[in-house]
């Protein structure tokens, strides 16, 4: 394998990986606010992509994407208010089943609105044939868009959580809900806001990948499982640690394509998930243990 080919694999791995990372961050935002794993997280990417595709013919592309992000965020709010907000201390199994049910409902609703055709947004700049030479490898400008958007999202989220009042309130709520409430933070609105944030971020990622990987009503499940892989690999609940994990999963997956048939791509990343869960469920970077009895948590 030549150096330029290696670089090609690396870049495509980093691209898909950054998308997985954003799904993983979505899991983390909701998880640290509520302790719930929202199995419908992958559906937010699909929804964002689909809404933007429908709006693209009538609106300029940036406006269409902004509208899609906002609309998907509102769907997230709706999901939280209607289905989750009024359950007091629900059992984990119950929440798993409810969010899975919701993911099916969102998927089926999308199937009826947009049918089962594979669609795509137009490329943000240039078209499918345009390419840029980077160190000898030819890549689509869309890859740069995806990487740029992911980077901005991650940086923005980090700054938001660290320096804004709302972000700090969210972190307080995540680390100790009771104490946060005693400090006068309205934790219930923060939970609703965390769903908005997770859904909106997912929607933006869904728009960014749409020109490259296309959007279909049933793309959510495998994205959700891979996003969860990244979230766990980075340590569940630590919001941006999923980035490194996402890049790792993406590159391994891209590398696997050169060895194994394309159909086995998912098998590789899911194998990684199983391996992490078995050997290091607290994540590669974090020290917090969860999920396995006998190890605190």
């Amino acid at each position: 394998m030549g150096a330029d080919q290696l670089l090609q694999y690396l870049l495509s791995g980093v691209t898909t990986g950054s998308i997985y990372a954003i799904v993983g961050i979505g899991f983390n935002i909701v998880y640290s606010a509520t302790g719930i794993i929202n199995f419908a997280q992958g559906e937010f990417l699909m929804l964002g992509g689909m809404i933007a595709i429908s709006l693209a013919p009538v609106l300029p592309l940036p406006l269409a994407i902004a509208a899609a992000v906002l609309a998907t965020g509102l769907v997230g709010v709706l999901v939280q208010l209607v289905f989750i907000s009024w359950l007091k201390n629900p059992a984990v199994l119950r929440m798993i089943v409810i969010t899975i049910g919701l993911s099916i409902l969102i998927r089926e609703a999308s199937l009826h609105v947009w049918d089962e055709k594979v669609r795509a947004l137009p490329f943000f700049s240039g078209d499918e044939t345009s390419s840029i030479a980077v160190l000898g490898a030819r890549i689509s400008p869309q890859i740069l868009w995806i990487l740029g958007i992911s980077a901005v999202l991650v940086a923005g989220l980090t700054l938001f959580l660290r320096y804004t009042l709302l972000g700090r309130a969210m972190r307080a709520c995540a680390s100790n809900t009771t104490a946060a409430r005693l400090c006068g933070i309205r934790t219930s609105s923060l939970v609703t806001f965390s769903f908005f944030l997770a859904a909106a971020m997912g929607a933006l990622a869904g728009c960014a990948v749409s020109p490259m990987t296309q959007t279909q009503y049933d793309m959510g499940t495998s994205l959700a499982v891979k996003g969860f892989t990244c979230a766990v690999l980075g340590g569940l609940g630590s919001s941006t640690a999923a980035v490194a994990a996402g890049l790792l999963v993406g590159v391994l997956e891209a590398a696997s394509i050169s060895i194994l048939p394309l159909a086995y791509k998912d098998v590789v990343s899911l194998g990684i998930l199983l391996a992490i869960l078995f050997f290091r469920p607290e994540g590669l970077f974090a020290r917090r243990a969860a999920g396995v009895p006998g190890r605190a948590g």
Binding site: F83, I96, E108
Partner: protein, 378 residues
């Protein structure tokens, strides 16, 4: 729990209903319903197994369609792959140089045929075929499933909550992807032309119209047997141990219950229920497709158990039969998956103990209320 005969009442009701349904449908000349009822029986077997795991042992599995598919695909591959052709191909390979490999394959086929588990036949073009006997394929399907269940179960069952759910979901997705991506499993087309499974005394699992009534009874006999095994198990020492694990793992462990072993046993048994369902259904349907391994199928089984009331074998049986039958009849049309999603959400929001629990609680309150009134009168 006192060993009473009362726990066999649902079993007797089941047998009565199975016979009554067949009699009524045959008398009304509606025998075509029996086909879907037979298929529903095999899916119900999966739901019963999952009920043991989720309802009694308290371990969620979002990958049970995977076990169904492993059972089904193993049976289907072994009973359809023509070993004569494979042997010939290996022979051709030998000419090219792989003498040892071809000799090995030949020896294996020879050994299998000496064991009497190969069957010869003719294909559509009049060529000779050599396939594995359905009995042997069935045994192999259960063996493969058991091995996979133990290999997956040992690490996975150490996990709890979200982690367990995601790990089992990942297992299910892996099985589905392998089924779609592997040539021997027919890729997206699946496997067809699976032969009938001759049992004994002229009984055979087959989709032939003439054998419809017979197959209905074979399928429901299996469900009845599975149900009986389940209620006996639940009432036994092992069943109590499982319920103790569900209630509080640490407490169960402190009382001397070997928690990992019991969880693994429940996982293995529930996987075998799914594999039996899958292996039998491929002979009845004459084929299997990758859709059987899909995540949506796994979620469906979870829905059936949830609606039946986690931890109610009878409830799961009733709900699974009804909903699967309606779904197979196409009663929900294009909304099939949506109906299952909506049912899941609604049940978990409003009646997390299943549809029968509120009704049961209502009857109980009625009885208690009456008794209370009597006490007040005194």
């Amino acid at each position: 729990m006192r060993p009473t005969l009362a726990r066999y009442i649902p079993f007797v009701v089941l047998v009565g209903l199975v016979v009554a349904a067949q009699t009524a449908l045959s008398a009304l000349k509606l025998e075509f319903y029996l086909t879907q009822l037979t298929m529903a029986a095999y899916y119900t077997l999966v739901a019963l197994g999952l009920c043991l795991l989720m309802g009694y042992a308290g371990q969620v599995s979002l990958g049970h369609a995977g076990f169904f598919a492993i059972g089904g695909y193993t049976s289907a591959v072994l009973t359809t792959v023509n070993l004569a052709a494979t042997g010939a191909a290996a022979g051709a390979g030998a000419a090219a140089g792989g003498v040892a490999g071809a000799a090995g394959a030949g020896a294996l086929i020879g050994l299998l045929s000496r064991l009497g588990i190969l069957v010869t036949g003719t294909d559509a073009y009049g060529g000779q075929t050599l396939t594995v006997l359905p009995w042997a394929a069935f045994a192999a399907a259960l063996l493969v499933t058991a091995v996979v269940a133990v290999l997956v179960g040992i690490p996975v069952l150490r996990l709890r909550g979200h982690y367990l759910a995601m790990a089992t979901l990942a297992f299910g997705v892996i099985v589905a992807r392998v089924a779609v991506g592997t040539r021997i499993f027919g890729e997206a087309d699946g496997i067809s032309d699976v032969p009938a499974f001759r049992l004994f005394a002229g009984l055979a699992i087959s989709g032939k119209k003439a054998l419809r009534v017979q197959n209905y009874y074979i399928a429901w006999a299996m469900v009845a047997a599975g149900f009986l095994l389940l209620i006996n198990l639940i009432g036994s020492r092992a069943g109590r141990a499982l319920r103790a694990i569900h209630g509080n793992e640490a407490a169960a462990s402190a009382m001397g219950v070997d928690v990992p072993r019991h969880k693994l046993a429940a996982f293995l048994l529930s996987a075998l229920y799914a594999a039996v369902g899958g292996a039998c259904l491929v002979h009845f349907n004459g084929g299997i497709g990758p859709g059987e391994a899909s995540v949506m199928k796994s979620v469906r089984y979870v829905a059936l158990v949830a609606v039946g009331g986690m931890g109610s074998a009878g409830g799961t049986l009733a709900v699974s039969t009804l909903l699967t039958f309606l779904s197979l009849r196409g009663a929900f049309g294009q909304l099939d998956d949506a109906v299952f999603g909506a049912i899941l959400v609604a049940i978990m929001l409003f009646a997390p103990d299943g549809v029968f629990a509120p009704v049961g609680g209502w009857i109980l309150r009625l009885l208690r209320g009456r008794r209370g009134a009597r006490g007040a009168a005194r």
